[in-house]
Each structure stands twice: as C-alpha cells, then as structure tokens.
C-alpha cells in the first residue's frame, strides 16, 4: 500500500493541474494510494507512523528536501520503503542524488521500484541525510575514540553522509558506504592549506565554550556533539540516474 505525503506548498492552486496529471498517472500505473496533507502544525512523522501502523509499505514525499527533513526522525524506525516525488522550484538535492526526475516523470521511476538501503546519520538525537558543517573553526574532533584531529590555524569542517552537489552537479559523498566522510579545508593565514579527507564511523566534539554547527543548513548551538552513522538503515526508491 502506498501513502503519499503532500507538502503544504504543493497544495497551492498553481500545482493543481500538475498534481491532477500525477495522480492520474499513478492510478494508471496501479500505485495510487492514500494521501496525507501537511499543514503548519501537522507532524509529518506522526502521520507516517499512523499510516505504517495501518499497513502502508511505501511512503512517497511529494515536495522537496524540506518535506523529507520534516519527517527524518521516523525514517529509521519503520520497516517502510521511502521515495520522493520532487515538485516546486526549491532545492531538491535529495531527489537529484536519488535520481528522481521532477514531477510527472517521477511516477514511472517510483513504479519501477529500484530499492536501495541507504545510510542515515545522527547528531546527538537528531537525524540528518546530507551533511554537518562547521565553518572557520579550530575545534578538535575526536575520531572513532582513538585520535584527535584539528586545523592548526583555522579551517572549514564538513561531515558528509549523502553529501552534497558540487559545482559540476556531481554528488560528493557516498550514501551507501556505511561511513561518514570528514573533510577539513584547512587554511594557513589567509591561504588554503589543503584538503583533509577521511572516512569514519563516528566523531565526537566536546568543547568548553558553545559552538555553532550547521545540520543540513540549520544552525544548532552546543558543547557536545556525537555524530555517527547507521549503515543501510533506510530503504529508498531510486532512479537509474542516481548519483551514486
């Protein structure tokens, strides 16, 4: 049974025609299902949990990266396959990584059901798919409990799970290797010194003074962060054009 989660913005009138075509195509393909509509105070995770209890086996997010981010906490706990039907003009990086084409064209890819178990990562109690970044810092990172790594002068730290898109629209990061990619772009004075690159299972940050880190672009303050990865924890529908 399929369950489609419509983000608030796709319920706007300007998407009405496109949604109508998509719903018809899903019916033609025999993969139509119940529709849940997100609203300001509706908890996406709770909606999905309820439908999984009622027997939903596949949950499709109709929207963009933010639609998925609203439900991240529920992804690793359910034995459900997830997918994205990307819509709108905003960032759809997850969809690009997964190889899901925009709008109507995604229906056939969903129907083809190529499924990949992919990693999900966590900072303390919060899950993330893409990356954690700490700009311009000297904060030491305790890597897998055995060694400490820090920029000597300053540097930009990035810890990737699925990763991000580079300038050539390639995926930087591997979402199914069961490892976090740690990248430190160190600077010596104002000059770029080099790019440190390691693959790790977990990283600890413990500092006396509060620092800011960015989890999938959202700023979070704190002193202690434990960043780890759960390999192959979430099943995703992917397309042939996937970037991994």
């Amino acid at each position: 049974m399929y369950y489609y989660i419509y983000d608030e913005f796709v319920q706007d009138k300007r998407f009405e025609k496109e949604l109508f075509q998509i719903e018809n195509r899903l019916t033609d393909l025999g993969i139509s299902g119940k529709i849940g509509r997100l609203a300001l105070f509706k908890d996406a995770a709770e909606l999905i949990r309820d439908e999984a209890r009622r027997g939903a086996k596949t949950v499709i997010f109709v929207g963009n990266d933010r639609t998925i981010n609203r439900a991240l906490k529920v992804l690793p706990e359910l034995k459900v396959t997830f997918g994205i039907l990307p819509m709108g003009e905003e960032e759809n990086i997850y969809a690009k990584i997964l190889g899901m084409p925009q709008g109507f064209a995604a229906c056939d890819v969903i129907s083809a059901r190529i499924i990949k178990p992919m990693d999900i990562a966590k900072v303390n109690d919060r899950f993330f798919l893409s990356r954690v970044s700490i700009p311009n810092t000297r904060v030491p990172l305790l890597c897998e409990g055995s060694y400490r790594l820090a920029p000597t002068d300053a540097g930009d730290i990035e810890i990737r799970n699925w990763g991000r898109m580079d300038k050539s629209q390639n995926c930087v990061g591997n979402p199914e290797d069961g490892l976090l990619d740690l990248i430190i772009e160190a600077k010596l004075g104002r000059k770029k010194a080099g790019s440190t690159d390691l693959k790790l299972k977990f990283i600890d940050i413990r500092v006396k003074e509060q620092i800011s880190i960015h989890i999938d672009g959202e700023r979070v303050n704190g002193n202690n962060f434990k960043i780890k990865i759960a390999p192959s924890k979430v099943r995703w529908i992917v397309g042939k054009e996937r970037l991994f």
Partner: protein, 142 residues
C-alpha cells in the same frame, strides 16, 4: 601500490593535509597520505606517503611507504620503503627493501629483510581489528 612518481595508483585514500594536526593512534586499512602534523602512531595495512611538508612524531607501520617529510619515531615497512631527497628519519627502520635518494637523512638503526618485518604487518592487522571493534560498538548504539 604506488605509481612510479610515488602517487597512489587508485583514488579513495585518506589524506591528512597541511594545516591539520592529528594526535593519537591512527589506524587505517587503505592508502594514507600525510602532509600535515601527526603525533602518536600511524598504522596502515596499505601504502603510506609522507609528503615534504609532513612532520610525524610517531611510530609508523605500513605495507609500502614513500617518505619525503620528517619522521621522528620507529618505522616498520613490510615491503618497500623509499626515502626521497628531502626525507629525514630520526628512529629505527625495519623494511623489506630500502631505497635512499641522495640527500635523505637517517639517524637510527636499519634492519632489512623479509623476516624482520612480517611482525609489522601482523601488528597492523591486530590494531585495525581493534579500531574496527570500537567503531562497531558505537554503531550498535544508534
């Protein structure tokens, strides 16, 4: 394995770049490039390249190594150790095959031959298993 110029033949290696300091016991199963500062120990069951800018205050164990930077500590290499013109090693060396470029500096005992270094590899594998076990324990907690 290295290409002729000391570069790795394949990508995906671990890089400790200039401008970064590593303190502690670093274990890896893949190729490692050190360009920055390291203190503690460096162990890999694959190949190691120590660039000219690198300063290692640690014991080093690897399968093959090309060294152009500074190492203060004992170096155990299973197969081949190549010291470039700018290399400086303060410590004992155990290796299967040694190649030294003119200008390279070594202050320490050098032991060569297959028997002496097989234990280095055994040690590498043991330490890698230990660090993998630590990592797996953390993974189970998620």
């Amino acid at each position: 394995m290295f290409k002729k110029d000391g570069e790795f033949a394949e990508g995906g290696e671990t890089v400790i770049a200039r401008g970064v300091k590593l303190e502690g016991d670093f274990n890896s199963q893949g190729n490692v490039i050190v360009e920055g500062e390291v203190s503690g120990s460096v162990t890999t069951s694959s190949d190691l390249r120590v660039s000219e800018s690198a300063k290692i205050n640690a014991d080093v164990k690897a399968r093959n190594a090309v060294v152009a930077g500074q190492i203060s500590g004992n170096t155990k290499i299973q197969d081949k150790l190549e010291l470039m013109e700018t290399a400086s090693i303060d410590g004992d060396i155990e290796t299967g095959v040694l190649s030294v470029a003119p200008g390279a500096r070594v202050n320490g005992r050098i032991v060569m031959g297959g028997d002496t270094v097989s234990e280095a590899v055994k040690g590498n594998k043991k330490e890698n298993k230990k660090s993998e076990k630590n990592a797996d324990m953390a993974e189970d907690e998620i």
